[in-house]
Symmetry: C2
Subunit: 457 residues, 2 copies
């Protein structure tokens, strides 16, 4: 018994020690994590400071007597609004602010009407009538929140609508000065909303539109980088692999980019014209490009499987289609990189992309290689792996063409600036410079691509 | 000129007419949309009624004098809490409620401390000190919100933390009865939170855990359905296709299921034990299964491309590997269906799945078919398409095995009830019954799968 309790004690000590050790590593890792979070996107630090500033500004209300006397305890709605409305991007803040403002105004009027209506039949029925109104409105609006379109753009407004209606109509039962209450609430919310918007827009603004635009370009570029490297990697001697695999995994984030893209589109649609983006910029088109990019990414994911596959054709077999495959892969990659650059710099992509033409040539020679029987006498299973890769690459080419089409559509919808045809031939330098300029201007985008500068040959 | 203005007038009329027509179709379509939304998931209607009920309940505070006198205008925090905290699933509501309650308590205490600290150096410095505290806290907490882990589980709590701290510390500058204010705020929030939780849990609860569990099973089942039909569809005569294509597109939703799954996992982790799920059910394992399922879905997406591909091998070529491919595809499908059933009914899947064994056999015969040169004399390009399909199917098989492994892991972690080995052989009837029972119990899940009942042969 004594021994057992002794052992238990030691075990207890051990587990406490382990826990302390774990805590210690967590604590020591913490500053590193903070630093990484800030380095990954310095806008996060700026955003935090902006939130602090906006809240401090609006809480001045309480410190200065003349302001405080005007609004009394309603001033807290201003603080509340800033805390709740202030979001990372301008679009999100604007969307939330407009939702909150409009919903408060509408629900306030409706609540006042309901309050007035409920007083008509006499004091006895008032609570019952008010309860009925509240139940009816809360149920209806809660159901409306399930409509996908409403959910995407007006969800917050609908919540605030229920909230304000209840507060105004119900507290009106006590407070006879409903109108004054409603007026104060609306004006303090306006003050809070404007403070948040002012700080959000005029101090280092973060535009959701910019992020969306960069996301589209980055995603295309990630696929391009994979394809440009894939050929080398696949046809390398087995021993040399493994080394720079990490650079080939960049495309993985494209696979799950849908939700992020959707919310960015919703935010961007709230934003006014800014920078390179006109009012009514065709944000929806980015969703189309995004879905085609993901479609291509699924093929790339399958290709990636063959890099690590056990069934690997012999060097000899692979050698026969090596040239065509490498050409096809790298030219598709270059075409995509060019499209990414066109999106990034907002220049019209050349109507006849030389890289797509080249990869089509490679595709044709690959097809004819396959047709003439690249190797009739050897093990077919070996060919299968190679043939699959070839076939997937052909697939990728057709995806690339579709992406190219949709980027052209975007270019015409958003009136990208044109590049003179004769400039294309000898415009290498110019585009390089543009790429570099752009490289600087978007150096604080969330996902820093590996390289922006692509030479057009 | 007159003619021109006439034309303009007519055009104006036309456009107004078109607009009215558009509005009319939207209005006439609206009831249908509402009906569909309710039919897709009747829990939505129940949820809306529950929200209405909870808000009406909590607004009773205002109607009854004894309750109102106790809390005064602080009673509005109860209404506010119900509106903001009440979510669709129990997990989400619990998470938000706990976040709100805990954050309010902590920030209230801290705010009171800050208020007390700021009074020490004298009245002149008080506003400056308070402003500094507010700025510091708001900035820090805003930055903490960027940590992915904090964002996933405590985002709402962090917002409420900033909010309450500002309200308490700042309004405390005016109101000497800070403690009373804090006390009232905390207790009204508790009342609101408990009302929301009570209605949410005890009236037709919606458990995020159930949804997550069904999502995992449904996703596996969708892939299974595709694979079971794929063979027939691919080896059909070209003319007969197109007909039942819709049934093959079910898997598409699996591709983008990641975000939904993640939020369900976060919600489910807040939930207490319920129904078939113990406390500390291994929810994280569902994420693992989900990611493997998506991995398989990417292969299925590539396979689907070959159903509509232009490059199609001749009937003769396809005929040679038809049997092995169909067997491989349908047996993989059956294996997945069995795994889905095991997850759904929470029974231990048989340790040696007969379908996986059968598909391994088919895979071997397919491989040897490819090895012995299924057709040395004909066009290789034709074979390529077929070979790719074969190769993708082999890939799918290895995905299936991985999914099977992770489901077994889940079964042992969550202690699924075992099926006696001798029952497996002749247990067809029993499992069928279980499947049917389950079919009823989860008949109101969001995504109704096509069929739950699978015979085990």
């Amino acid at each position: 018994m004594g021994l057992a309790s002794e052992t238990q004690k030691t075990e207890g000590w051990e587990s406490i020690k382990a826990l302390v050790g774990k805590m210690r590593t967590k604590v020591t890792e913490f500053p590193g994590k903070i630093k990484k979070l800030g380095q990954d996107d310095p806008r996060r630090i700026v955003h935090s400071l902006k939130v602090g500033l906006a809240i401090t500004l609006v809480s001045l209300f309480y410190y200065f007597d003349p302001l405080y006397v005007g609004f009394g305890s309603s001033a807290m709605w201003a603080v509340l609004t800033v805390v709740v409305v202030f979001e990372f991007s301008v679009g999100a803040t604007l969307g939330k602010g407009l939702n909150r403002g409009l919903a408060t105004f509408l629900a306030g009027s409706l609540g006042f009407g309901a309050h007035h209506l409920a007083t008509l039949p006499g004091e006895k029925f008032q609570p019952i009538l008010l309860g009925f109104f509240v139940f009816l409105l809360a149920t209806t609006v809660s159901f409306i929140r399930f409509f996908p379109r409403m959910k995407a753009r007006y969800d917050y407004g609908l919540v605030i609508f229920i909230l304000t209606f209840c507060l105004i109509s119900v507290s009106g039962y006590r407070d006879e000065e409903v109108l004054e209450l409603a007026h104060k609430r609306v004006s303090t919310i306006l003050i809070g909303g404007f403070t948040a918007l002012f700080v959000c827009i005029f101090i280092c603004p973060v535009w959701a539109g910019d992020d969306l635009h960069n996301l589209a370009a980055n995603n295309i570029e990630k696929l391009a980088n994979f394809l440009e490297e894939f050929g080398d990697e696949y046809f390398k001697e087995s021993g040399d692999r493994e080394s720079n695999k990490a650079s080939l995994q960049g495309y993985k984030s494209v696979l799950n980019s849908k939700q992020n893209e959707e919310s960015l589109v919703n935010f961007a649609r709230w934003e006014p014209r800014h920078g390179r983006f006109r009012f009514r910029h065709p944000w929806k088109q980015y969703q189309k490009i995004g879905s085609l990019t993901r479609h291509c990414a699924y093929r790339v994911e399958a290709l990636n499987g063959y890099l690590n596959s056990d069934v690997k054709a012999s060097v000899e077999t692979r050698g026969k289609i090596k040239e065509a495959c490498m050409k096809l892969s790298s030219e598709s990659g270059k075409a995509l990189n060019e499209l990414a650059l066109a999106v990034r710099t907002m220049t019209q992509p050349p109507s006849e992309c030389p890289h797509i033409a080249k990869s089509k040539n490679a595709a044709n020679s690959l097809k004819s290689l396959l047709k003439t029987g690249l190797c009739k006498d050897i093990d077919l299973q070996e060919i299968v792996a190679v043939a699959t890769v070839a076939s997937l690459l052909l697939d990728v080419l057709s995806c690339t063409e579709k992406i190219s089409e949709s980027v052209h559509e975007l270019a015409s919808l958003a009136r990208f600036k044109g590049v003179e045809d004769d400039q294309v031939a000898d415009g290498e330098k110019k585009l390089n410079q543009k790429g570099e300029v752009n490289n600087k201007s978007c150096s604080n985008s969330i996902e820093q691509p590996n390289h922006h500068v692509i030479t057009i040959d």
